[in-house]
């Protein structure tokens, strides 16, 4: 079945809501469990048996292209029998991105996925559902627990056929839609941003000026009675939209809630511990942690659970890191306490600092010794005395 499938990953996200973490990289490059989010999207598709993946980049596209081509080099791709293409195109929207790479899509069906979500949507089941329904388009969906007004909402009939789209509706619209159908749904159903299409749909996209799937293509398909279905399941899906959900995504990946998607590195037995290059760190640590490589730790430091340590970091003595994410090339002093916070690439943290309660330190920032940061966001390249 999967021979008739290929996939397009839309990796153009800027990630402005993740600032300052995205001050120097784009959102698909943001690491979750030491693994860039774009790699989660690639793994997700290849684990479903898809052999050809086209990635459309935009913001900081060259940087992202280099990262993808370094991670997924020709030797590795040949070993796993995967084709990854990162064409040079300039797109102006989700549908436009697919239009620009449509000549590369040569399978009966294709998946369109995003590079800025962490999910374990059962994609093989999703594709089978699409084929079974003989749908022209199928949209992945789930019941959302909060802020449904931020997403595209959908109403389905009893056969899972989509009967209405509400693009970022108001609360009043959701209320009224619940009265006209779907009153028994305990939570609103939203579009989670992964689509299956028949190849035929490309004719429509190529012959139109549609730029966006949610705002233009799907409403058109609905209005013109195309066979359009919703695939609703209860799966892990996290829109890594802000620094708090970013922290959660790291914790969830360490807990294996996104399984089979896992952090980078070799898992240590049945523990939730990953070492990159199987390099055991010289520091005591709990379960639910992952480490990059080439790190140096001082005496009596400790890495507590739900923490991620990148690569090439120097961490001093008597330093405790808990429920936090440290990116690469960071230098952290002695007697430092870091709790529930994120430290981006290349930061320097002086001795005796306390960083806690969702503090976010942008890349290349310097925090002088003795500073306490409580729920603060520090911009990239800044110095705090």
């Amino acid at each position: 079945m999967t021979k008739s499938w290929s996939a397009v990953i839309l990796a153009g996200g800027l990630g402005s809501r993740l600032n300052p973490l995205t001050a120097k990289i784009c959102k698909p490059m943001v690491p979750v469990g030491n693994k860039p989010m774009v790699d989660y999207a690639i793994d997700h598709l290849r684990y479903a048996g898809i052999k050809k993946i086209i990635i459309v980049v935009k913001h900081l596209g060259d940087k992202l292209r280099n990262l993808i081509q370094t991670t997924w080099d020709s030797k590795r791709l040949a070993e796993i029998g995967l084709e990854v293409l990162v064409p040079h195109v300039d797109s102006k929207g989700t549908a436009d991105a697919v239009r620009k790479v449509s000549h590369l899509i040569d399978t009966d069906n294709f998946v369109v996925s995003m590079a800025d979500i962490v999910t374990n949507l059962p994609i093989r089941e999703f594709m089978e559902f699409h084929e079974k329904k003989n749908a022209q388009a199928t949209v992945s969906m789930k019941r959302i627990e909060e802020m449904a007004t931020k997403y595209g909402n959908t109403l389905l009939d009893s056969e899972s056929r989509i009967i209405r789209f509400l693009e970022k509706p108001s609360s009043e619209e959701i209320y009224l839609s619940a009265l006209t159908g779907g009153a028994s749904d305990p939570l609103p159903i939203i579009n989670t941003g992964i689509y299956c299409f028949k190849h035929d749909i490309l004719k429509l996209i190529n012959s139109s000026d549609f730029m966006d799937f949610g705002k233009e293509v799907f409403p058109y398909l609905l209005e013109h009675r195309y066979s359009l279905y919703g695939f609703v399941r209860n799966y892990y899906w996290l829109d890594v939209g802000n620094p708090t959900t970013y922290l959660w995504s790291n914790w969830d990946v360490l807990r294996l809630y996104g399984y089979p998607i896992t952090p980078y590195g070799t898992r240590q037995g049945n523990e939730h511990i990953w070492y990159l290059n199987n390099e055991k760190p010289t520091v005591s640590h709990d379960n639910f942690v992952c480490f990059g490589s080439d790190n140096h730790f001082g005496d009596n430091s400790y890495i507590h659970e739900l923490s991620v340590i990148g690569s090439h970091c120097q961490i001093g003595s008597n330093t405790h890191i808990s429920r936090s994410v440290i990116w690469d090339n960071c230098k952290i002093g002695n007697n430092v306490q870091i709790e529930q916070s994120v430290i981006a690439d290349g930061c320097t943290i002086g001795d005796n600092c306390v960083i806690r309660s969702n503090s976010i330190i942008g890349p290349n920032a310097t925090i002088s010794s003795g500073i306490t940061l409580d729920a603060q966001t520090i911009k990239e390249d800044s110095t705090i005395h």
């Binding site: 627990e145 909060e146 802020m147 449904a148 007004t149 931020k150 909402n153 509706p169 108001s170 609360s171 009043e172 959701i174 209320y175 619940a178 009265l179 009153a183 028994s184 749904d185 305990p186 939570l187 609103p188 959660w248 914790w251 969830d252 807990r255 809630y257």
Partner: protein
């Protein structure tokens, strides 16, 4: 009393609480509404609801005026259980909510609770942020054309009534012989939803105190008299289950078919053992309060594989911990139970359905299902007293601790009575007896000796108030 300019003067245990129309006046409610609106920002949309009583109605209307003035749009739910408000915030994608209710102190206190976009009650930090806008009088007033809109959502109770049964196995109810439930709604808005939902599931319901009581009575519900009545009706009608909802509907007391009121610990163990989702999802932790009996931890170990995490019992704490830790189930010794597959908050209606679902599946009476549960090492004492003293004991204790500022003592309202927590000793629950004119003390100390000390201390308290 002088006008309140700092909410810290009336924030008690993480909630705004004060005597309605005396301290918590409509003028103050309007200011709080405007401060809350400023905190949300003019693009916010808030769901507002209340318990019955004119006090709550008055305060809610004044609050809405202030909230609209800050440009926030409002979905007006009128009277509803707090869990319907929390459901609505999530169901309609609102950014926040506020709920007006009475405090069960018998002193006509009202309280205002705020909820975030996931239906979780504000923590003290967020409440402080709202307070700062009020204290510094930094209210953002909208321009005349940008004043917030108000929309009635009258059919929300219908949406809730249809949605909640989807979260239990309805076939179990249809296929089993009809169950009988006594449902005391304590004159609260839970009466709008619970009896109807149970009836839709083919459960035979005897509903009591299930209407809006507009009598000018200071009597709070549930109280000793109403609880005893419900127990008697359960026994007399041979019901499978008795439910006594708290007035806001977020929690309840549960009575087995023999007339025994189930303890928090029994209910925790009941769900851990018999709920198929909880019992089979051991990789996700169970969250409970620090003051929960240690028997729950021992039972979790006995069942094997459960991780039990404890947090303090403060508004929204268990909900936040459940979300952060991705917990599978939660319970607070204030008789609140949390099922994250439904929502990160406690709902007396949903908890009732979960109990009935298990009864339908197991086909064994509730008393038999809990009979084998272990009991903790308690010290126990019964103190004879008058019926009147039994009725007022709970409130007198609360007043004693609050007014006299008893150091190192905390308390939890467990509906039927109080749980006093003594630092470095343990806890003692003080509840009126259902069978005699007496107050029953049960203590769980850090060790047996401390249990005896707890009983002695509690007895001292009781003697000072009766």
């Amino acid at each position: 009393m002088s006008e309140i300019t700092n909410l810290k003067d009336i924030i008690n245990r993480g909630r705004i609480q004060a005597i309605g129309n005396e301290i918590l006046t409509p003028e103050l409610a309007a200011k709080i509404g405007a401060a809350f609106g400023t905190y949300l920002g003019s693009k916010g949309i808030a769901v507002i609801a209340r318990e019955y009583s004119n006090n709550n109605r008055m305060l809610k209307r004044a609050f809405i005026g202030g909230l609209m003035s800050s440009g926030v749009d409002i979905l007006n739910l009128h009277s509803a259980p707090v869990s319907v408000l929390q459901f609505s915030i999530r169901r309609f994608g609102a950014s926040a909510g506020a709920y007006f209710s009475s405090v069960s102190t018998g002193k006509m206190q009202n309280q205002i609770r705020f909820y975030d976009s996931s239906g979780i009650e504000f923590d003290i930090k967020k409440l402080d942020s709202v307070n700062e806008y009020l204290r510094q009088n930094k209210i953002n007033r909208a321009k005349p054309l940008d004043v917030g809109a108000i929309t009635d959502i009258p059919h929300t109770q219908d949406i809730y009534r249809k949605a909640i049964p989807q979260l239990v196995d309805q076939n179990l109810f249809k296929n089993k012989k009809q169950m009988h439930v006594v449902c005391d709604c304590s004159y609260g808005p839970g009466s709008i939803v619970l009896p109807g939902i149970l009836t839709s599931l083919k459960v035979d319901v005897i509903a009591i105190n299930a209407y809006e009581n507009d009598q000018k009575s200071a009597e709070m519900y549930p109280n000793l008299r109403s609880i005893k009545s419900a127990v008697n009706i359960v026994k007399a009608s041979q019901a499978d289950l008795g439910v006594i909802l708290d007035t806001d509907g977020s929690r309840a007391l549960y009575i087995d078919e023999t007339g025994k009121i189930l303890t928090f610990e029994e209910l925790m163990m009941f769900f851990m053992k018999y709920d198929p989702i909880i019992s089979s999802t051991k990789e996700q932790p169970i969250i409970t309060t620090k003051t929960a009996s240690k028997i729950i931890g021992e039972f979790a170990q006995e069942l094997g594989g459960f991780t039990l995490l404890k947090t303090r019992n403060f508004p929204g704490e268990i909900s936040r911990e459940l979300r952060e830790q991705r917990g599978i189930f939660g319970g607070a010794d204030t008789m609140k139970f949390y099922f994250p597959n439904y929502g990160p908050f406690s709902d007396g209606v949903y908890t009732t359905l979960k109990i009935l679902e298990i009864l339908a599946r197991e086909k064994i009476p509730l008393s038999a299902l809990i009979r084998s549960f272990p009991r903790t090492i308690h010290s126990y004492k019964s103190i004879s007293t008058s019926y009147e003293n039994m009725s007022t004991c709970k409130e007198s204790l609360r007043e004693l601790i609050q007014t006299q500022g008893k150091a190192n003592i905390d308390y939890q309202d467990i509906i039927i009575g109080m749980k006093l927590i003594f630092k470095d000793l343990g806890w003692v629950s003080i509840c009126p007896s259902m069978h005699a004119n007496a107050v029953e003390l049960e203590a769980e100390g850090l060790n047996a000796e401390k249990s005896e000390i707890l009983i002695a201390k509690a007895e001292e308290f009781i003697q000072s108030i009766i």
